[in-house]
Structures are given as structure tokens and as C-alpha cells.
């Protein structure tokens, strides 16, 4: 097991279609070693607000066949509670994909840093809003 930073992504889609167009982009990221998917599940909210959790194996045959080779592991680390927590924010007639993945590119970089006797002492994701604020300040100068 490598040790890149792990990230959870929740992607919302209108209606009940999950993946279709995002699969090729995801496949590319996996194939070139940028990310490794370690858990994946989908949540649907119908018109009445009822929730259904859908596993990879329960997708339509086409979607499953496209996604299956991309997913390294369905670890189940994303719990029912996690899924329901995020699904609560969905509006009726929409769905979401929950994706837990490792940033494998970062793991390779960290290895290179270590081999060069370097040490990563800070690794933080900076919120987009912070960058926008800084860019605005710079634009004023």
C-alpha cells in the first residue's frame, strides 16, 4: 500500500444517471497513475426524497463494465452513515457519486523527495476562495 493523500469527492448529477461522460476522464487519471480509487458508491434520491444506495455491482451493465476496470478496490470505508449524510444535501430527483481515492502522483513525488533527503513538512489544500481573494488583491496593485 502506498501513502499518497486520500481524498473524498462527492459529485452530484441531475436525474438518475451517474457516470456516462465522466468515466473516460476518470479512466485516464487511473491509467496514467494520477489516482487510485479505493472506494466508490452511488446514492439516488427519488422525487419523494427516498434514498437508494447503489453499489458498483448494481449499476447498469454498460456503466458497470466501463467503471469496473478503473476501480482498484471497493473497500467499504465510505459507510452508510457517510453516504446518507452527504445524500441529505441532494435535492429530489438527483444522484451523487462518492469517490474515495488516493493521490498516487503525490506518493511518487514524496518518494523522490525522500530519496533526495528532503522532507515534506507541510501539505495543505488551500481553499479556492483564498486564492481568489489573493488574486483580487494582486489585481488591485
Amino acid at each position: 500500500m502506498s501513502h499518497g493523500p486520500i481524498e473524498l469527492l462527492v459529485v452530484k448529477f441531475p436525474g438518475n444517471k451517474f457516470t456516462g461522460q465522466i468515466v473516460p476522464a476518470l479512466t485516464e487519471l487511473v491509467d496514467n497513475g494520477t489516482v487510485r480509487i479505493i472506494d466508490l458508491l452511488f446514492v439516488q434520491k427519488d422525487a419523494d426524497g427516498d434514498l437508494t444506495i447503489v453499489e458498483l455491482t448494481e449499476l447498469d451493465e454498460d456503466e458497470r463494465a466501463a467503471l469496473d476496470p478503473v476501480v482498484a478496490d471497493v473497500s467499504g470505508m465510505i459507510s452508510d452513515d457517510d453516504a446518507l449524510l452527504f445524500a441529505n444535501a441532494l435535492e429530489p430527483n438527483s444522484s451523487a457519486g462518492l469517490l474515495l481515492f488516493e493521490n498516487t502522483w503525490a506518493s511518487r513525488f514524496v518518494s523522490a523527495v525522500r530519496e533526495a533527503d528532503g522532507e515534506v513538512i507541510v501539505s495543505e489544500r488551500i481553499p479556492r476562495a483564498v486564492i481568489e481573494e489573493l488574486a483580487a488583491v494582486e489585481a488591485e496593485d
Binding site: L8, D50, T52, I53, V74, M77, I78, S79, E124
Partner: protein, 126 residues
């Protein structure tokens, strides 16, 4: 209502585990420690460089610039220390942060199960 399916997803979950292990507080401490370490060694390097430059009779301007840099770095360091002391998850618009805080209150016993459930429902509905 929720339909069941085959796979088990009964583990403690990401959100609960993050709240329990106080990942955020840990990160703040680690950042602070990392930053001070880096600052200390960099400040030391700067001091040595400044001394070397003085010895080499560099212009007074260069020394002044280095001293300004060091003062700026010390200010940054103080800020980093302050940030690390601040509460790790201050109330904000961030739903995750609020949920984590709520969960911490629940774990610490400040909220009982019913209060926690009600507050969580309110937060999620809001």
C-alpha cells in the same frame, strides 16, 4: 426509506472517524510544528548568511534587507503559533466543520444522543 443491498458498509465511516481522531486539530499542530522547524532552520541559515555578509563588508543595505526578512519571518512564525492555538474547527459555513464540531460535542458528552440527533438534523436541513 432506504433500500438495502448486498455489500456491508457498517464501519465507523469517514466523517465519524475524522471527528473522533480530531484529524483537523492534529493537522494544525503538525503544520505549526513543521512551520516552526522550517522557520528556525531558515532563520538560522539567514543569520549565518548575514554574519558572513557583514564579515565580507557587504553594503549596509544588504544587511538591512536581511534583517527585514528575518523580522518578517519572526512575525510569520508568531502568526503560525497563534493559528495553532486557535480552536481547530471554528463555527463557519462549512457543513463538514460544523458536523465535526457537533460530533465532538456529542463524544465529549456535552450533547446527549437526542440533542445530537436533533442538532444534526437541524444542521442538515438548514
Amino acid at each position: 426509506m432506504m433500500r438495502r443491498r448486498a455489500m456491508r458498509r457498517r464501519g465507523p465511516g469517514l466523517v465519524g472517524t475524522m471527528a473522533r481522531t480530531a484529524v483537523i486539530a492534529g493537522t494544525a499542530t503538525a503544520v505549526h510544528r513543521g512551520m516552526s522547524g522550517a522557520m528556525d532552520s531558515r532563520a538560522q541559515a539567514q543569520q549565518q548568511e548575514a554574519a558572513a555578509q557583514e564579515a565580507a563588508f557587504q553594503s549596509q543595505q544588504d544587511v538591512q534587507a536581511l534583517q527585514n526578512q528575518m523580522a518578517a519571518m519572526q512575525a510569520q512564525q508568531a502568526q503560525a503559533a497563534f493559528a495553532a492555538q486557535a480552536p481547530p474547527a471554528a463555527p463557519g459555513n462549512d457543513l463538514m466543520a460544523q458536523l465535526q464540531q457537533l460530533s465532538q460535542l456529542h463524544e465529549s458528552g456535552a450533547l446527549n444522543d437526542d440533542e445530537f440527533a436533533a442538532a444534526k438534523a437541524k444542521l442538515l436541513a438548514g
